[in-house]
Symmetry: C2
Subunit: 549 residues, 2 copies
């Protein structure tokens, strides 16, 4: 017996229709790649997104085909988000920080038909254009006045010219809600990148969950500035959730340095931002150096990597900006957990609350999670026992694009499928998950596991440390022991023994790193995370050598 | 091309599973029909709901069959909500305020198999038991100690005895998300009641939307007391949304008088409540008479009927309780709009903000709405032009149960189906909808429409008026003119001329009621609304008679 309620598919175009009809005069403000600030309303966005759908149809894009972007957070990128997915094609956001060869591999693997890109990436695209046989049209996301005379790209199209020939008289099609809507590749440290193919259904459900009070808590009273790029897991879904709730949306373009961000925060009255810790470090340094404060900003969502507790405290104590830890993955659309306190925790002492907030958070409704041992047995939620983190939910990947015959999913005794995240974590009695390591980064010392993230957070709290990474170094007796790699702050002084002593009392003695290596810089990957496998290649024999010598 | 995310149905059992796993120690507190307070955790609720599923299976209930309840808001009712829907059967909540003959008609029409009821309703059930041929088992929702010796109901079962024979070792089935989950009848003023058959999908989507910051704004830091009965449109979905967000849930049982409610608010630290205006009037009177204040209560959701602005102001100004207007219908699961201000409205002057908050609110994402003229043409959103309100969305009714060959839905030129609400409303430029009348209650004076609700709100603001209703009275020249029916507060004095003069300057002169009739009481229907058709039957010729005399 079926219920008798209206059957309406969950579609990305519904988000835009809602914003247009119910928040039509709400603003979208963008810092342009060409310079200056662009502002228009959700009504304008809706009309131009329909023009995008018309233009793409005219260029031969049909349902299910991929349209790629290489672009910053800006209004034209947003129009492609809605126009391409809304018409039934698939928006494929490329990460410009990847190596050109990797980009070319991904475009070919995804069989992208069209590549739309910001002027910033003209040299990159010109360099790889001949290696992209699937691309039928290159579109520069600018107006006629900013088109280069000779781009080196044959038949380069101008985005504004394309749109100007259409009137926006287009009705969003009634799609299957399980139709593919967008595509992100996740670049593992080994093997080829893997494509996660989102659906309209997974996106809309993720949008509902992410806007809840105990998730990102988004409303029509918010002004949201996503620092997290729209080329990185759909900017954590904020381009969708802003439309769902009718928030003002501020898109920072290429200006991700502390000063540019701060100026935009203040000029547009931003209440909420979101990004990875490395970006916030830049903002914090700028604000501290210039002795500034935040007028309107109240909350910032930090994810991508664990936020060092020291940074969390600086934002909250000095600037009254609440730092909210969130955890996710490309395979999770991306949000899995958010670190919002429960009612029973509100009266806890500050230090205890801080400890909870430093964790990755609790599951938003839709996501279930568990930690398991190497036999797949569920481990207790005691905040101490760690295990591999598995997740399930309607916005979790089931298969990777182009690998339909393989599945990453593991099944439990009840027949439920779970996605193994590759993270090692604890979960406490209140359901707060804490990632202690990536499975491949965990340090296996004498049969016991040492989490590298705790060790890094302690080092990062030392005033002389700018960046710290802890890796497993080979050891003759214990198999592996922790080795700390440190970049010092400019003009700061600290030595090995002082840093080793800094761990005393903060952690079990046997977790203390065996040695410290000072380096000038640590290489970050395309998504701003430390490339630990490179450090391991370089330093994994460090202890063997120093013990020998 | 389909997306490649996990396929997980949206199920009511997922809400309970989430509460059990992620908020297992959160409390459910109930005032018992038998007296006293009962408290347990979501873990307990989950286990006992699985026992309900086992017990119902054992009684022969199979997938899609209906299990009816006649019960107050309490933990056993909550277990039936989750146990019956979760196992794949349909929970049919009966409204005990209906006439026994109407109840019997509804049970027969729905073909309910089992009837579970609170001890309060023993006399009612005993009186109609022989008229309920579809019911195979009657279950009294109490323990063995409170079972009557001779109930007059053959083979009366005891709820606690039923559950005690099961261990809760039951796995929620993997249902089609479009399967029917629950059933409410809406009693129109004419014709037979009509059954709205919700699905798991419609319920879970409604739960997501209703918990959003701009809807009911529910979190794990809330303690929610639904005054709105669980027999009335699923208590506006709060039994579901409390589990989704992990809020503490306080269920008031039969104690809906001002004193009982106030005591429970204070004892349990209730932060949020929800109900119809008539209940809040009782609470307000109690608090005013005893000179009390609210320690923890911050917000109250008022719906079902328009909240008189005077009551809204008393709650906010005197008691610092934010009053949030919401609008919905049984056919909408029920939430359609909520009156939360937008960012651009926060700086408006108080009186202007109050005017907006007195409206029924703006659409939550998932619901679209429009107003149309008698030809189905969409009318402008100017806050002045009124038209019939139409809605659409995935938790809006498509057909009524047992009337599968008829549909209430009307289609527009684009092929979209809309549900005609029977309400007449305006929508302003910010998307705030304001119901000016039920289509059948609107007063048609000389070809123009006069909304009865505005006229009632003005009368309710007069200090001597306890209740006011405005109806269309027949008029020889204007066809219809407004007639005000008033119940005075005890010992208050006001006459016709003073009330007529009270309208001056508050409304267009020609909207002023032609006359006032004072009565001792006005009859409310089963859902707490004024039965205007009865007033019309009684007073529709009042003006003809008074003009004649």
């Amino acid at each position: 017996m079926l219920g008798q309620m209206m059957q309406q598919p969950l579609l990305i175009s519904s988000l835009l229709l809602h914003a247009e009809r119910h928040h039509g005069d709400q603003l979208v403000v963008s810092r342009l790649v060409e310079g200056g600030i662009h502002r228009y309303s959700y009504q304008d966005l809706a009309k131009r997104s329909r023009c995008v759908a018309q233009a793409m149809t005219n260029l031969g894009v049909s349902s299910g085909q991929r349209v790629a972007t290489l672009a910053w957070n800006g209004h034209r990128h947003l129009e492609l988000y809605y126009g391409v997915s809304g018409m039934g094609a698939v928006l494929h956001t490329l990460n410009p920080r990847l190596h050109p060869d990797q980009l070319a591999w991904i475009v070919e693997h995804a069989q992208d038909q069209i590549l739309c890109f910001d002027a910033t990436f003209l040299p990159l695209v010109a360099a790889v254009a001949t290696k992209l046989p699937s691309i039928k049209h290159f579109v520069l996301m600018t107006d006629r006045a900013h088109m280069p005379e000779n781009s080196g790209i044959p038949d380069l199209l101008c985005y504004e010219d394309l749109l100007s020939t259409f009137d926006g008289d287009f009705v969003w099609p009634h799609l299957d809600e399980n139709a593919a809507s967008s595509l992100c590749y996740t670049s593992g440290t080994t093997g080829h990148p893997k494509g996660v193919l989102y659906s309209h259904r997974s996106t809309v459900l993720h949008t509902y969950a992410s806007a809840l009070p105990d998730a990102l808590n988004l409303s029509a009273r918010d002004t949201i500035l996503p620092v997290v790029p729209m080329f990185h897991v759909n900017a954590w879904g904020l381009p969708y959730s802003a439309c769902m709730v009718g928030a003002k949306l501020v898109l920072p373009g290429p200006g991700l340095d502390g000063q540019s961000l701060y100026e935009l925060f203040e000029a547009e009255g931003v209440t909420l931002s979101a990004g990875v810790p490395t970006v916030w470090q830049g903002l914090l340094s700028h604000v501290q150096a210039k002795n500034l404060h935040f007028t309107s900003m109240r909350r910032t969502i930090i994810g991508g990597s664990a936020c060092p507790p020291a940074m969390m405290q600086a934002f909250e104590d000095t600037y009254s900006v609440q730092v909210i830890h969130a955890w996710g993955m490309t395979e999770l659309s991306p949000i899995g957990t958010v670190g919002i306190l429960k009612g029973s925790q509100l009266d806890w002492p500050l230090s205890q609350r801080r400890d909870v907030q430093a964790k990755q958070g609790r599951a938003v409704f839709g996501i279930d999670m568990k930690i398991v041992d190497t036999h797949g047995q569920e481990m207790p939620w005691d905040g101490k026992t760690s295990g591999e983190l598995l997740v399930r939910g309607p916005w979790v990947v089931a298969k990777y694009m182009g690998n339909e015959n393989e599945t990453p999913i593991v099944h439990d005794a009840a027949g439920h499928g779970w996605f193994p995240t590759g993270d090692v974590a604890t979960i406490d009695a209140d359901g707060f998950m804490n990632i202690t390591d990536r499975s491949k980064d965990v340090i296996k010392s004498g049969g016991e596991w040492i989490g590298s993230i705790d060790l890094e957070n302690i080092a990062m709290a030392h005033p002389a440390v700018a960046m710290a990474a802890c890796i497993a170094a080979r050891h003759p007796k214990w198999d592996e022991r922790p080795l700390l790699i440190v970049v010092k702050k400019p003009d700061a002084h600290v030595d090995r023994d002082e840093l080793i002593a800094f761990y005393k009392g903060k952690i079990a003695n046997w977790w203390t790193p065996d040695d410290v290596v000072f380096v000038d810089a640590i290489t970050l990957g395309a998504t701003g995370k430390i490339l630990k496998h490179r450090l391991r290649e370089q330093f994994q024999d460090h202890l063997l050598q120093s013990l020998k010598s």
